[in-house]
Amino acid sequence: MPRPHIEPFVDRDVGFKKLGLPGFRKGIQYKMLSMDKENGSCTMTVQYDAGFKQPPGFSYSEMELFIMEGHIMIGGKKCEKGTYIFAPAGTSLPAFSTSEGALGLVFYNFGPPSFQESDSDHQNADKSQQRKMISSYDGLDWQVPTLFPQTAPGCLLKILHLDPKTFGMTFLYCMVPGFWQDNISYHDVAEEAYHIWGTSWMMQFGDLPTGGYFYRPAYINHGCFKSDLGILAIGRTDGDLHNYFHHDPFSSPEENHHRAAAKLARMKPALYQWILTNEHNHLPHDFEFPDDTYSTEGYDSGIHMHDDGTSHAHKASGAHSHLNTPKISKKKSKK
């Protein structure tokens, strides 16, 4: 598991630390919210001290910044609170300064925090996505989520960034005062969120107040939900977000994973059958992104059950055919 289940964590309970990594200028303090143990990617609350200045430069990792308090001048443009900045890896950002200080949330998506002074992009900068700067508070309207099934009325979204390949997204969300959702949810993807303002409650974890944060791996139950006075939060997923609603408070992540697979078989039978009836561990190919490669390396949870009741686990190297085992195939062949 790249990042552990951190839920809930309230950053107001801890102090800031100085960021002393080479490349960064003095005047940045941070609180670490979560970190990937393998690649060092992380999410941090960051305080830019009054008078902080940084020359043009880039991060070696894809980076996102959301300004929560104060304002920052970026390339001569005043970025108020609510500004969201997305910078692909190696993409140079203009000079950066704040006269009165600012508070932000920073996401380094592929590696640890890094800054390289440069007024041009890295030679291998990620050109597949564009740098963006959005004034989310006054430049975007709240929208009803278009997820199916959908959250209860009173939970609204502003999409800040959508990864074109994974559909992972960064979004603002709010719950109106009196919001209530009586179901339990889980997802196929990891999810993290930070409360910019307000308190919400979940049946598993209790209250999450202003400054509250969670990083939740896939398939972990959360909900039911409520908020008495409403909230404003920023959230992210690392893939397509589907709400799996249910009402069993005691189901385990493994059971939830199985249930998700069963739902896939019901909801997308053609895809499910195609995956099962081809050689195990064959890798997909996407004509839209022909240079992308897909590997099962790192996925060691290949535990599965056969029709004869036996089960086993295997990794990528254990390729073999299950041509006769999928239940869908058998049912069809009996007809």
Binding site: E38, N39, F110, T170, Q204, P217, P249, P253
Partner: protein, 92 residues
């Protein structure tokens, strides 16, 4: 957005610098402590959580369960899966 990335792919600097490695080591050690503290806090919440779960199961059998958006369905008792001694673990 790459929350679940398990490789260094996507970081243009292929290896950690000495300072980065030390930074990661320190932060991961603190993260373990943070995780342990959360587990203990959530463990202490268990009696209250059991009450919340009981109330939830009562509500979905009376007021209804949110199926989709504002659409609700009252869950009949025979559709509530028995606990059968299963633990109420919330942190994984």
């Amino acid at each position: 957005m790459t929350l679940g990335s398990t490789t260094i792919k996507g970081n243009l600097r292929p290896k950690f610098t000495k300072e980065e490695a030390a930074f990661i080591k320190q932060e991961l050690a603190e993260q373990i402590d943070r995780y342990k503290k959360i587990v203990a806090e959530q463990e202490a919440l268990t009696p209250q959580r059991e009450k919340w779960v009981k109330e939830f199961l009562e509500r979905i059998q009376s007021r209804g369960f949110h199926v989709h958006a504002g659409l609700k369905r009252v869950i009949p008792k025979n559709e509530v899966r028995p606990r059968d001694g299963r633990p109420l673990q919330v942190i994984f």
